[in-house]
Symmetry: C2
Subunit: 225 residues, 2 copies
């Protein structure tokens, strides 16, 4: 433990792994901030070790309380590894949102405004059928809130073909950069444009499938995106 | 080697690591596709192994030909690890773009349209000053093309404080999903809306820093974003 402050009920306890070596003022540990960053996204980058080498794959995730879920085919590598390894699969799950391009007068102080969450832990295969169903609903609803109730639920065969991994939110940190450029005082007179270009993710108008039944209206949860 | 096809000069040779166990039709290895995906982004997720556990951190990257570069403070963990470890630092560098939300009639067939590149390899610290400068320019220009020439270059002190890692594009694959939902034939009559919601990254109007000299015009490379 790098920090000796008393544990807070509304925050994750920092550890050696979750206290950055640099820019510590950008780190945050409170549940609210971490949950908000996680809930704004649906694609994470899942890291694990295979034959001693790191592997990082993009995958969907969902959150239910203090648990994250990822899913995949029962034949996919990380899910097989989590199932085979008795103590589970050690993972690092990272979610990143880019909010802006920070253009300083000096190349050195160029940066990105972002919010990220890094979760360290051991992922386990979900075996309880009820938890598995709830996790799959959460995965769909993380991408499009409200969608799981408006689609056909997985049947027994589909459930059997899908593996779900659970990762508890225990060793967690958020990291953020906000605001404008931080130029050196001696650079303030340089003639270059300086400021921030906002970056955001946007959803276009829904494109119906070719075989959508005529007259099927776009549901409200999609127009709300 | 999983594939026995003759090596192609315009493609990366597939390996056990870069041939997916599932959905092989989504994998691509040609240079053009891989470069295009890499050049559209600037934030990657860099994975490495620390004390036996995976670590995945978001970081900026740049490409120069068949080399990728990432940078950081000389005090940051992965950069220190790459410098200390004689044979370099084994990494997995992943870049992902989300293009659409794929809503099938069944929860099981929900998916994401995406393009990703995964690079496996050993990263080395760049020691040649000229390569280091070129790499830092590439990093800035990857975020905002044309910006490196319109900012103050790093001075000797800044260069010394910055470590740059080089990763050769050797063991590389792209993975893509495009198109609409793939529902089961027996689900085609279900009443749910089905199709794709396009997703894209957008840049807002540049926000000048508070201390920007009055009259400084927004450069053309920013209005072109």
């Amino acid at each position: 433990m790098t920090q000796t402050a008393a544990p807070r009920p509304d925050a994750y306890t920092p550890t050696d792994r979750t206290v950055p070596t640099r820019s510590r003022e950008r780190a945050a540990y409170d549940h609210e901030m971490v949950h908000a960053i996680l809930d704004e996204g649906y694609v994470c980058h899942l890291g694990f070790v295979r034959d001693g080498a790191p592997v990082v794959l993009p995958t969907l995730y969902g959150r239910v309380g203090e648990r994250l879920y990822v899913h995949g085919s029962t034949g996919s590598r990380p899910l097989r590894m989590a199932g085979q390894a008795d103590p589970g699969l050690r993972v690092c799950l990272t979610v990143t949102h880019v909010d802006g391009l920070v253009l300083a007068r000096s190349a050195f102080h160029h940066s990105i405004n972002y919010r990220s969450v890094v979760v360290h832990g051991v992922a386990h295969q979900v075996t309880d059928p009820q938890e598995k169903r709830a996790a799959l609903d959460a995965l769909v609803d993380h991408v499009v809130p409200g969608r799981s109730r408006d689609s056909r639920p997985a049947d027994t065969k589909e459930l059997a073909a899908t593996a779900v991994l659970r990762l508890d939110l225990g060793e967690v940190s958020a990291k953020l950069r906000t605001g404008g450029p931080n130029d050196e005082p001696e650079d303030l007179g340089l003639p270059y444009w300086t400021g921030v270009v906002p970056v955001s993710t946007t959803h276009g108008a829904p494109v119906p499938a070719d075989d959508l039944a005529p007259g099927t209206e776009v549901p409200a949860y999609l127009t709300a995106l």
